[in-house]
């Protein structure tokens, strides 16, 4: 298994972001096919056959998610594209929004049709000013060409699309918080159930899908679910975008077939670690995933294998840290982020992330004590699984993995009893 360009096939083509360029590369054929010859249950059937799993991080089967929308609900339904890409290290959705917006539009349109929605939203994070403008422009063009609007392709089907920019909060990438934010409330997550597919935006059935997930949809419709299922591994089919960053020679977005190994991504695609330094740790799927040790580099990049290795595939943001990295400092950076982004609704996440930050900060300042390590561990276990939304888990998991796998580093740092000199981390 190696590089396989499906989503990134045309992203380097500057014409791809225009509707004409996209059509020239075979765009909107799937949408036309759907409207002229397919029924919603057929689409969901193809999606189920493809085995496509959500690319936002949780990996939930997309076809199954769509099938949860109640068929007989008299309420309007909504499809929301989750473009609130804020997981540290992740920059894959941005590429699609900026360079292939019509693929996202087409995917959203097909998804909306499949669940019987006539209004689709793209919730783009507030900081994505440029991608939001590109996407908005693309939506306008799609309207002009009749891909959106009233009576599309004469099928009698109407679909409107709204671009909405958020206020800039990591939590709004969580679907219930996203829905609250989109509805005009504070971006705070809510308890599930009720799940958004039953009671989401404005209390109506709502499907929230990641940008990359939706961009896959036109390919599956064009080529069939079975074709897609043949790529990748059995349980994690297809290709996946990986945002490679950190101590590598060629950081960037790479599209690999699922099941390609971590070392292939780092060494073949990323050109390895500069100056031949050794790898100390790898976060395979974004800031919320447990750290992996260098002896785990042969792990295939698919949902199951990474989980078996004690981490998560997450959003596919692979962060490489070389031997110079102070693990305590890296942990501090992560937990500080989660503390800052905790919405403050439920107690364990709000108070726990703050407490862990205080303890790790103390270790960095050379004022820590060794018992802090166990305390950090116990606090994180009191956060894990005890919160409303996965942000609490996201904050606790990497820290727990550090305590388990890099305890010696922590102990060393604490025993030094001097503040960490930050200059040594000037990697410019």
């Amino acid at each position: 298994m190696a590089e396989l360009k499906l989503l990134l096939k045309h992203t380097d083509d500057p014409k791809q972001k225009t509707v004409a360029g996209y059509e020239a590369n075979g765009g909107y054929t799937a949408w036309r096919k759907v409207l002229t010859s397919m029924q919603p249950d057929q689409i969901i059937g193809e999606m189920k056959a493809s085995g496509l799993r959500g690319r936002g991080g949780a990996g939930f089967p997309t076809g199954l998610k769509w099938s949860f929308v109640p068929i007989d609900s008299p309420k309007p339904r909504y499809l929301i594209c989750n473009s609130d890409e804020s997981e540290p290290g992740t920059c894959k959705d941005r590429v699609l929004l900026e360079n292939d917006p019509h693929a996202v539009i087409e995917g959203m349109a097909i998804g909306a049709f499949a669940i019987g929605s006539h209004l689709a939203f793209n919730y783009i994070r507030g900081e994505f000013d440029f991608p939001a403008n590109v996407f908005e422009q693309a939506v306008e063009e799609a309207y002009e060409r009749g891909h959106l609007g009233k009576n599309i392709y004469g099928s009698g089907y109407d679909l409107d699309m709204i671009t909405h920019t958020g206020g800039g909060a990591y939590i709004c990438g969580e679907e219930t918080a996203l829905i609250n934010s989109l509805a005009g409330d504070r971006g705070m997550s809510s308890m599930k159930p009720p799940f958004p597919a039953i009671e989401g935006l404005y209390g109506c059935p709502t499907i929230v899908n990641n940008v990359e997930t939706l961009a896959c949809v036109p390919h599956i419709i064009n080529n069939g679910g079975d074709w897609y299922a043949n790529m990748g591994t059995e349980k994690s089919p297809g290709t996946k975008l990986f945002s490679l960053s950190g101590h590598v020679n060629r950081p960037g977005n790479y599209e690999l077939e699922m099941g390609t190994t971590l070392s292939y991504l780092i060494n073949e695609m990323g050109g390895g670690v500069p100056d031949g330094r050794k790898i100390k740790a790898v976060i395979p799927g974004g800031a919320s995933c447990p750290f992996m040790k260098p002896d785990q580099l042969d792990t295939p990049l698919d949902f199951e294998s990474i989980a078996a290795a004690g981490s998560m595939l997450g959003s596919g943001a692979c962060i490489v840290m070389d031997e110079r990295t102070d693990i305590t400092w890296a942990t501090y950076k992560l937990i500080k982020f989660f503390k800052h982004e905790s919405c403050g609704k439920c107690t364990p996440c709000r108070e726990g992330t703050k407490w862990v930050t205080q303890l790790v900060d103390r270790a960095l300042a050379g004022e820590g004590v060794e018992s802090d390590i166990d305390k950090i561990n116990s606090i994180c276990h009191n956060i894990m699984g005890r919160t409303i939304c996965p942000l609490g888990d996201a904050a606790a998991m990497p820290v727990i993995s550090v305590v388990e796998r890099y305890r010696d580093d922590l102990v060393e740092r604490i025993r030094e009893k001097t503040p960490l000199k930050m200059e040594q981390f000037d990697f410019s």
């Binding site: 504070r186 503390k339 905790s342 403050g344 439920c346 107690t347 009191n382 409303i388």
Partner: protein, 860 residues
């Protein structure tokens, strides 16, 4: 009477249930209820911070963890639906550990200021920390304080409302205050700022937390983060005792608890009664207890000597009363004596008043409606009929369509207002508000229909005609004469006259007709109108055509013109009116003995009789017509010309100025008594303190007057209570055949360049007593002319400008307050403040009060 309210309006539906096991006990609850509900049902304690029985569960605080078999994680019981065969453990080791961790998290930044915190002793966090937080090794090594964003410092106390202080350091961020404010009250004056561990609760930018329900936010705060000025630093809670009480102001009859030390009442909290109040109190109910403690209370009787009131003993005052009354009665006979009483007084006082007037003095001139004019002169009016219908507050929850007409509901019935909101929020009910001015309920209504002032019955007739035109009226009703009964007599003409379009009238009529359980509420703008009979007829017609239950006819829902004061319904049932039906006469004769035969005067006729020298002596108990009655000129002239006037009240009022003898009354917190709320529910309140000075409860004062006249009202209190019970038990509301009634509109000419002025209660006041409550004064203490932003623009006035408001030759100088709640050219001014005689602008014989405005002094 008390059981009418318990009548359920909806047929009992077979509810699906689930059965689960909690700590080894089997419990069955309705499907859809939570595990926490199940635990509470069998009294298994589960700690909570963010949960509130009347709010949606959010699962934020995480203290209510329970362990459920087959669930890998601890579950928050408040947000986990109870399922069949669940096995729940509320006290397992895992569960206790989970809760302990939450307490540990919460205490991380919580100040240890319990010794100076007003919540100490009744604090959920204290209790739960005691239960789950005890640990030998302290984990807390960091400075304990909540950080202000970007600052290394902690929060100071902050006054965020007229009566509310916020201590952010103590806040556990359960968000109960912000959720209740939005969900239950529909207010937006308190909010969440920042996020994560530096989250802050605060008033909206540039604003204050000053809604009518602000006190509830303090009450539901689980810790001492929100405290109210009235209770702060006064006393520790364990040094107080409580008594049960009832709101003495609004007719809703919210149930309360009064907290007292040995001499004073210190605060009011809710005594939740889901049938009446859902546990929410208006600030008037909450802070109204302060009338009991006020230093401005009358402490001794006063006698007028040489034009001035001088303090006197009860014996002196009573001797003078006896002497003068005997003298006048001897000279002019009983008809020269008249009396009015306030419906804010308890049942015993009302009854004793009736007995004193009718039994001891032989005078039939009694009334309790001194706030109104153009009163019905005989029993059996349609208005009286519509005002005496059965009404259930709890049934509003189930109403699928609600029509509120002529009622500024939040000001008149704060608890009914919340029920209406609840019905809209929880049951998606259709709410139609129809008023001549914008009201608060409009913000959740399906359609807010603003009709022209003085066209109430036209709008209602429009609805009735629309029902007939659309074929939606109940088929058995004879509509053949509708063209002559109603004028105008077509929907489009009605629409033209009242200013609400035909389409909106039609759609409202359709929704009401489709409704299975409609609720129709008429309010103070109906009761207070001189054309109340016409409007009542129109409402009656509508109810008949919709087949709405009127007690003795109709099938579904409820329709009622709601009474105003805490005991209006009681006064009606005790027959404190001059015009008596035969049933009333029979009931009264059983307890009073022979009734005087000469016809009595109602309030209107007492005023004209006093001016015509026919009424020579008057007894006014608790009422304040010189301030609250429309047409002040006539009232004041009448009070002046009365030869002997006795006024009993809590305070010196514009009315006591005219009195020859003033008697000090005890407040509701100083004696035991009962009120009948707007549903007909009889509720008791208990004394919380001794009466101030030599003040006496109304019934005691009246009995002493009777004694002085050589008549005994009752031998002991149990006989008195028996008499009252006898009267109430035998009370039957009037009946009426479901025949359409006449309702002709007579237009009133509007002078050029004039604006309609509405007079009523200020948002934070009720009647004339609340202006003596310090807390309520901090919300509003002066009468200002409320004016809509657009009219302010048109007249180029700004907030704080002084204007001269004139109606005919009557003039008043008022400050302007620009109210976002008003629209168009309607004006509002409160009549609660004795310093400003707003009612002087009104005329008794004119339906609308049109005034002119001239700016006299600019604020800038």
């Amino acid at each position: 009477m008390s059981d009418t309210a318990t009548k359920t309006q909806q047929p009992e539906q077979a509810q699906e249930t689930v059965t689960l096991t909690v700590d080894g006990q089997s419990v069955t609850v309705n499907k859809g209820m939570t595990v926490l509900d199940a635990c509470r049902q069998i009294d298994i304690p589960v700690p909570t911070f963010c949960w509130h029985p009347k709010l949606k569960s959010v699962g934020a605080c995480r203290i209510c963890y329970v362990e459920i078999e087959k669930f890998p994680k601890l579950m928050v019981s408040c947000a986990t639906e109870a399922m069949n065969d669940m096995v729940v453990f509320t006290d397992s080791e895992k569960c206790r550990e989970g809760r302990k961790a939450v307490i540990e998290f919460i205490l991380l930044d919580h100040p240890l200021d319990c010794p100076t915190c007003d919540k100490g002793g009744e604090c959920d966090l204290q209790d739960n920390a005691f239960e789950y937080g005890l640990t030998d090794d302290s984990n807390f090594e960091f400075r304990k304080f909540r950080h202000i964003r970007d600052k290394d410092s902690t929060f100071d106390d902050l006054k965020i409302g007229p009566e509310m202080i916020r201590n952010q350091n103590r806040c556990v961020l359960c968000y109960k205050c912000t959720r209740a404010n939005e969900e239950a009250f529909g207010e937006n004056d308190i909010g969440i700022y920042q996020r994560g561990s530096i989250t802050e609760i605060n008033a909206k930018p540039g604003g204050q937390v000053e809604s009518l329900y602000s006190g509830n936010l303090v009450e539901i705060c689980p810790v001492g983060a929100l405290t109210a000025s009235d209770w702060r630093y006064k006393i520790r809670v364990w040094n107080t005792t409580t008594v049960d009480s009832v709101c003495p102001f609004h007719a809703d009859g919210a149930n309360t608890t009064l907290w007292r030390d040995r001499t004073k009442v210190l605060r009011t909290t809710s005594r939740p009664n889901d049938a009446v109040d859902d546990g929410w109190l208006s600030d008037i109910t909450r802070y109204g207890y302060q009338i009991a403690n006020s230093e401005e209370r009358l402490k001794t009787p006063l006698i007028k000597k040489g034009g001035k009131h001088v303090e006197a003993s009860w014996d002196e005052a009573l001797a003078l009363i006896a002497e003068k009354i005997k003298e006048l009665k001897g000279a002019k006979g009983s008809p020269c004596i008249a009396g009015v009483i306030s419906p804010s007084l308890d049942l015993a006082s009302l009854h004793c008043f009736n007995k004193l007037m009718r039994g001891a003095l032989g005078a039939n001139s009694v009334d309790y409606r001194s706030d109104y004019t153009a009163l019905p002169t005989e029993s059996g009016s349609v208005y009286a009929y519509m005002a005496s219908r059965d009404f259930s507050i709890a049934a509003v929850d189930n109403a699928d369509a609600i029509l509120v007409v002529g009622s500024n509901l939040i000001r008149e019935h704060p608890n009914v207002h919340l029920r209406v909101r609840k019905a809209v929020n929880n049951s998606n009910s259709w709410l139609y508000t129809a008023n001549p001015l914008v009201t608060k309920s409009a913000d959740c209504s399906t359609d807010e229909m603003l009709y022209r002032p003085g066209t109430d019955e036209v709008f209602l007739n429009g609805l009735a005609l629309s029902l007939i035109d659309q074929g939606l009226a109940k088929s058995e009703v004879d509509v053949s004469r509708v063209n002559t009964l109603l004028a105008p007599n077509s929907v489009s003409e009605c629409a033209n006259v009242c200013g609400v379009s035909k389409e909106r009238i039609d759609s409202c009529a359709r929704k009401l007709a489709e409704s299975k359980q409609p609720t129709i509420i008429g309010g103070e703008l109906v009761s207070g109108s001189i054309d109340r009979e016409k409007i009542a007829n129109a409402l009656f017609n509508l109810a008949v055509l919709l087949d709405v239950s009127l007690g003795d006819s109709g099938e579904k829902g409820q329709a009622c013109i709601l009474p105003r004061a805490a005991n209006s319904k009681g006064a009606e049932a005790l027959a404190i009116t001059p015009e008596l039906s035969n049933e009333d006469k029979f009931r009264l004769a059983r307890v009073i003995g022979e009734l005087p035969e000469l016809p009595g005067r109602n309030w209107d006729s007492m005023i004209s009789g006093a001016q015509g020298e026919e009424v020579k002596a008057m007894l006014i108990v608790g009422a304040n017509p010189a301030q609250l009655s429309p047409d002040q000129r006539a009232v004041r002239k009448a009070l002046e010309s009365i030869e002997f006037l006795v006024v009993a009240d809590l305070f010196e009022t514009p009315t006591t100025q005219y009195a020859d003898v003033v008697l000090p009354l005890a407040s509701f917190a100083e004696y035991d008594g009962g009120f009948v709320n707007l549903e007909g529910r009889q509720q008791e309140f208990t004394a919380a303190r001794k009466p101030i000075g030599s003040a006496l409860a109304g019934y005691l004062a009246l009995n002493r007057i009777a004694d002085a006249l050589g008549y005994s009202l009752y031998s002991d209190e149990s006989t008195l209570n028996k008499e009252i019970a006898d009267l109430l038990d035998n009370y039957t509301a009037p009946t009426r055949r479901p025949l359409l009634m006449e309702s002709h509109h007579t237009p009133q000419e509007r002078p050029e360049e004039s604006y309609p002025l509405f007079v009523g209660d200020a948002l934070h006041h009720f009647g004339h007593w609340t202006e003596f409550c310090e807390s309520l004064k901090s919300f509003e203490s002066k009468a200002k002319l409320e004016i809509s932003p657009e009219l302010a623009d048109k007249l180029s006035v700004t907030e704080g400008d002084k204007v001269r408001v004139s109606a005919g030759e009557k003039k008043l100088n008022l400050k302007v307050r620009i109210s976002e709640l008003l629209e168009g050219d309607t004006l509002f001014a409160p009549h609660n403040f004795s310093a400003t005689a707003i009612n002087a602008l009104r005329k008794a014989d004119q339906r609308n009060c049109f005034v002119r405005i001239k700016v006299t002094e600019s604020a800038l």
